[in-house]
Amino acid sequence: MPAAQPAPLTLVPPAADAAPRTIVDVRNLTLTYQTADHPVYALSDVSLSISKGDFISLIGPSGCGKTTLMRVVADLEQPTSGEVTVNGMTPEQARLKRAYGYVFQAPALYPWRTVERNVMLPLEIMGLPRAERQQRAREQLDLVGLSGFERKFPWQLSGGMQQRVSIARALAFNPDLLLMDEPFGALDEITRDHLNLQLTRLWLGTRKTCIFVTHSIAEAVFLSTRIVVMSPRPGRILDVIDCDRDLPRERTLDIRESPEFQRIAHRVREGLMEGHSYDD
């Protein structure tokens, strides 16, 4: 498959509908961090099944365990109990097969590498030839609107630009599963809209599976096939909202004005408030 391109706007029939293949399966996942003073219950009995081609958004209050859940899927954190499979393998096997690309909550760029060489890092590890590395890096940087900055160092870029570099880096090696932890959190509204559009197109064109963490309800509704609403710590799943039924797969920004969109957004908000209700 060629490197991820912004897809032409032709509707690809979701092949997954016929026989949905489970990509990520989380069953009764519980995770407790053992800290020096007291244990932190980050996740409690979380079950979630994600099919190929799904775009799942995780939304929930700060500190509820969204990052933790992604890290378990990525084999960066070991669950206390429960089962997780990725592509039918253990997370570790999946990681060693480079099954996913992870966009961390912070850019995590290497300051001694130029922007371009940061994007080329995974390609170098995979042993791609030099010319192809460079070509793919250029393409991805162009996609996130950063062509012309190839030779800059990360610390010469703004925070939002750095985060876009890290998105380009995750896309560069064209993984089938994308884990994105608040990738657009540091961006202005306009750039965010632009990248949201780019992301839906990319997702439609390549049928990647995405898990996406966000604090923005509108962003979640706009991008997702399903939205997972989580409760405050210990993180539990409060509600799973299906957006695919009422919204078309192919979306433009003005869909946000539609009544269906508003209805789903309202339901997400309700779910979030329910989780918060015991605070009052």
Binding site: P111, I125, M126, W155, Q156
Partner: protein
């Protein structure tokens, strides 16, 4: 032109203390004090300096003013040397010393002006500063007739340097090119490799670090004679002392450097399924570079000290430490100073080269970043 003229700050009044100099004696001959009008050459030099100060605004640029004032300073520093040559005694010459002091304050302004000039001239500042220090050393030691046993004037050191050039070169080769270089490379290399090993095998690190504290507390003068007994008079014993001195600083710095990679950066490598060695090469060693250079710089001075001190305890009849110990015994302090000068120069050059390499290799580090 006029703009750079405007930009020049006003001169502080302190150099003007020299205007009081004509009121005091400028030299003495056979016990009688001589004043400025009786010393025609000194009078001319003094007039030159004052004229330079008065005319300082005439040149169109900061560089021009700096050069003019520098001529004034040079005249002031020449005055005592000329008077000494004429056989005058200067230790009571209050006026002359006031003149020299005023000129030194004037030099301050010259350096400040040069620091503001763009281009390679900027580099002249530090060089001038060093030269002025040597000049003052010369003027003061000779003017006040400091015994050469205590502190010989630089001219004497320079003479000794020329007269003993062959010996000094042999010493340099033996101490620096043979002992220091080998000991340094072995010590730093072993410290680095051991750090990588200790990083993989944690109990090794736990065992080695307390030992490192112990080793750094052992005095060189204690281990040097032991090493000479173990490894003989030649470079091997010096290298051994250097290895003992440099091993642990390198080990500790490298270990700290390897641990300085952030968790999220490590997670990224892990998410690519990168193994230990790849993570080491692509992430942890680059992260460790600033620490490595720290260790290398500390060790460059330690190695030189170690070799020179170790040579006090036995060496073939050559080497900087050997030279110092034998020439002190013969009261040839000028040769000792010449050797010290060579050692100081070598140390600075080593350190400077490492600092330059560091700046080049770790230009990305926050301490060097430029936009």
């Amino acid at each position: 032109m006029s703009r750079s003229n405007m930009a020049r700050p006003i001169m502080a009044p302190w150099p003007l203390v020299m205007l009081a100099a004509p009121l005091l004696p400028f030299a003495a001959q056979d016990g009688t004090a001589l004043f400025l009008p009786q010393l025609p050459i000194a009078l001319v030099l003094f007039a030159l300096t004052v004229a330079a100060i008065l005319a300082r605004r005439l040149p169109g640029s900061a560089l021009g003013e700096a050069l003019l004032l520098l001529a004034g300073v040079a005249a002031a520093y020449a005055a005592p040397l000329v008077l000494l040559r004429q056989g005058h005694a200067l230790s009571q010459a209050g006026g002359l010393w006031l003149y020299v002091a005023g000129a030194t304050l004037l030099l301050w302004r010259v350096l400040a002006l040069l620091a503001g000039v763009n281009g390679p001239v900027r580099l002249a500042g530090p060089a001038l500063f060093g030269l002025a220090l040597v000049m003052l050393w010369e003027i003061l030691t000779r003017g006040f007739q400091v015994p050469t046993i205590l502190l010989p004037p630089p001219s004497l050191v320079l003479t000794a340097f020329a007269a003993n050039a062959a010996d000094l070169w042999d010493d340099f080769r033996q101490t620096v090119l043979i002992s220091v270089l080998r000991g340094y490379l072995i010590g730093c290399g072993a410290g680095f490799l051991m750090a990588i090993l200790a990083d993989r095998v944690p109990f090794l690190a736990r065992g080695l670090l307390p030992l490192g504290n112990l080793a750094s507390a052992v005095p060189v003068v204690g281990i040097a004679p032991i090493m000479v007994m173990w490894f003989g008079f030649d470079w091997q014993s010096k290298a051994a002392v250097i290895v003992v001195m440099t091993f642990f600083p390198m080990l500790i710095n490298t270990l700290a450097g390897l641990q300085s990679a952030e968790r999220i950066q490590l997670d990224l490598m892990r998410s690519y399924g990168a193994g230990y060695w790849r993570t080491l090469a692509m992430l942890r060693l680059p992260c460790a570079l600033p620490f490595l250079f720290n260790g290398l710089k500390i060790n460059s001075t330690l190695a030189l000290i170690g070799a020179i001190v170790a040579e006090f305890f036995g060496t073939p009849v050559v080497g900087m430490g050997f030279r110092i110990s034998t020439q002190v015994a013969r009261m040839n302090l000028d040769v000792v100073w010449a050797t010290i000068a060579v050692a100081a120069l070598t140390g600075s050059l080593l350190y400077g080269a490492l600092a330059l390499a560091e700046r080049h290799v770790t230009a990305w580090h926050p301490s060097f970043r430029k936009r």
